[in-house]
Amino acid sequence: MNAKQMKKIISRTAFYLLLAVIGLYTVFPFYWAIVSSLKTGSTLFEVEYWVSNPYWQNYVSVFQEQPFGRNILNSLFVSVSTVALSLALALAAAYAIGRIQFRGRMLLLFVILGVSMFPQIAVLSGMFELINSLGLYNNLLALSFSYLIFTLPFTVWVLTTFMRELPKELEEAAIVDGATPFTIVTQVFMPLMGPALVTTGLLAFIAAWNEFLFALTFTLSSEMRTVPVAIALTSGASAHELPWGNIMAASVIVTVPLIILVLVFQKRIVSGLTAGAVKG
């Protein structure tokens, strides 16, 4: 074995070692949540890396002790409507900004990006007044609307970039065929932008699903809470006891939809992240 081969083996090993460390670092918290969710109240505080006899009661009680099923449905409603709204708006905006020449469109694009610079906490009180005056306090629609603040800037940006790359002749062919701008967007461009829509839609979904601050502020009753708030506000039998088992079980449950979504759209996400040229 010469020095060159030796060097190759060492660098290989180092590479996989690095991968293992990164993998461990990212997956361990979730693994710990799974392990903790399968323990009874007393064993929770013992350090144990493997559960020998899993205790499933946490997964049942999280639904019994609070309206957790309702909370999941709330989250689904809010996330899906946020995604639908932001994609529809962003698609229309991207067509205007990406395909139509008008004065000040770069300025507009940067204003949209600028919106995402404000920390959520800075706009919170103003947002609260707005929601209140619209009569949407303690209503899920308040969340769908307010989440557009952080989903729209990046959906508009990504879709605009993508739409710009679509060949101009394709649009002109459709115009000659008698298509209106609406037809062009929905029947010609949208199918071609599938990967971009899936990728941005998924990112918007995750952002909406995990959002905490607005959800905490704009809802009051436990029936209106979304899952992050519901989990954070889970209370035990007494004020001094935190039901860690329930909290961990709930955390594991709410991660599942995201994993399923990513698996379902896996192929399209990859092509969405790499697709640049659309060839006829």
């Binding site: 002109e172 062919a173 459709a174 115009i175 000659v176 065929d177 008698g178 659309v278 006829g280």
Partner: protein, 372 residues
């Protein structure tokens, strides 16, 4: 089907005038070709006719109907693009049916028309495929098919063959010609390739710098170019130009002094308008020069001598580039020799110029009338 007429059409992009005061009439059923160097405005002119660009001034009429402010679909035009511009996510059938569907044509008519067009273009077996599964030539046919199903009044082609390889281009050229014969619809075709223009056109429109230089049948342009630009653009290899002065006139012969020992004689129907001493440019096509024995030929033929600086062999013919024995730094003179000639660089050559084959252009570049 429609005849097209344009009156004083202007197009400006910001301050750049792309099309300037174009008056043009294209007859019903004609195959017209817009040709010119890149940036001459030929594509813009086509897009103005299509309605994809708005005119800055002037009017466009189809059969006496003013279409200047109509949308492309309202004008009844169909266009074939250079990049084909097929809808990538639709099958060939859907690509062709898209325009009809938008017009709310009933399903039966759509099917019949798509089938018929597919038959004309011999793409019936491809109807279920997606564009990405087709070759370049097949995509081009689909793009043409998408245009003909709509039975437009005018077909517009924007350099449709420039993405195809040479052999396929020749084949598609013949096919377009056949299509035009079968459909009889007015067609306007944009190209920068003068061979395509010569072979396809009923009439050619030569554009330069946003203006129409000349309109005429291919042979009219070849034999009677209106000016230096058209003379240089039509014909391949391009016409030789030699600057000189009129040395004298004799009946219908004009002697042009080009700085060699003997002047060149050129034939004109009427020489009285030409005054000795006036600068003039003489034009001769490479195919009209010959390297035949200088002692042969009539008295009126002239001869020029030069050094061979390059030889291009094409097999059936060869193009020989000569540096003339003059002091002027003229472009090399190119002449065509038939067959597998023995010319080599460095040799001295004498070429024969027939007076009747010469073109004359005055100081401002306009052609002096030719006899035939």
């Amino acid at each position: 089907m429609a005849g097209i007429s344009m009156q004083t059409v202007d197009k400006r992009f910001g301050k750049t005038e792309v099309i300037q005061q174009v008056d043009l009439a294209i007859n019903d059923g004609e195959f017209a070709v817009f040709v010119g160097p890149s940036g001459c405005g030929k594509s813009t002119l086509l897009r103005l006719i299509a309605g994809l660009e708005e005119v800055s001034g002037g009017t466009i009429q189809f059969d006496n109907q003013d279409v200047t402010n109509l949308e492309p679909s309202e004008r009844g035009v169909a266009m074939v693009f250079q990049s084909y511009a097929l809808y990538p996510h639709m099958s060939v059938y859907d690509n062709m049916a898209f325009g009809l569907k938008l017009k709310k044509t009933d399903a039966k008519t759509i099917r019949e028309r798509v089938q018929e067009s597919a038959r004309i273009l011999q793409i019936e077996h491809l109807l279920d495929r997606k564009p990405k599964e087709l070759s370049g030539g097949q995509r081009q046919r689909v793009a043409i098919g998408r245009a003909i199903v709509r039975k437009p009044r005018v077909f517009l082609f924007d350099e449709p063959l420039s993405n195809l390889d040479a052999a396929l281009r020749v084949q598609m050229r013949l096919e377009l010609k056949r299509l035009h014969r079968e459909l009889g619809t007015t067609m306007i075709y944009v190209t920068h390739d003068q061979v395509e223009a010569m072979t396809l056109a009923d009439r050619i429109v030569v554009l330069n710098g946003g203006r129409v230089e000349q309109v005429g049948t291919p042979l009219e342009l070849y034999h009677h170019p209106a000016n230096l630009f058209v003379a240089g653009f039509i014909g391949s290899p391009k016409m030789n130009f030699i600057a000189g002065k009129i040395a004298g006139c004799n009946g219908n012969l004009v002697q042009v002094d080009i700085g060699t020992s003997h002047p060149i004689s050129a034939e004109v129907p009427e020489s009285s308008s030409l005054k000795p001493g006036v600068p003039i440019t003489i034009g001769v096509r490479p195919e009209h020069l010959s390297d035949a024995d200088p002692s042969e030929g009539s008295e009126q033929t002239s001869h020029v001598e030069g050094t061979v600086i390059a030889v291009e062999h094409l097999g059936s013919e060869a193009y020989i580039h000569l540096k003339l024995n003059t002091n002027a730094a003229d472009e090399p003179l190119v002449f065509k020799a038939i067959g597998d000639t023995g010319w080599e660089t460095g040799q001295q050559a004498t070429v024969t110029v027939e007076p009747g084959r010469c073109y004359l252009f005055d100081e401002s570049g306009n052609a002096v009338e030719r006899g035939h």
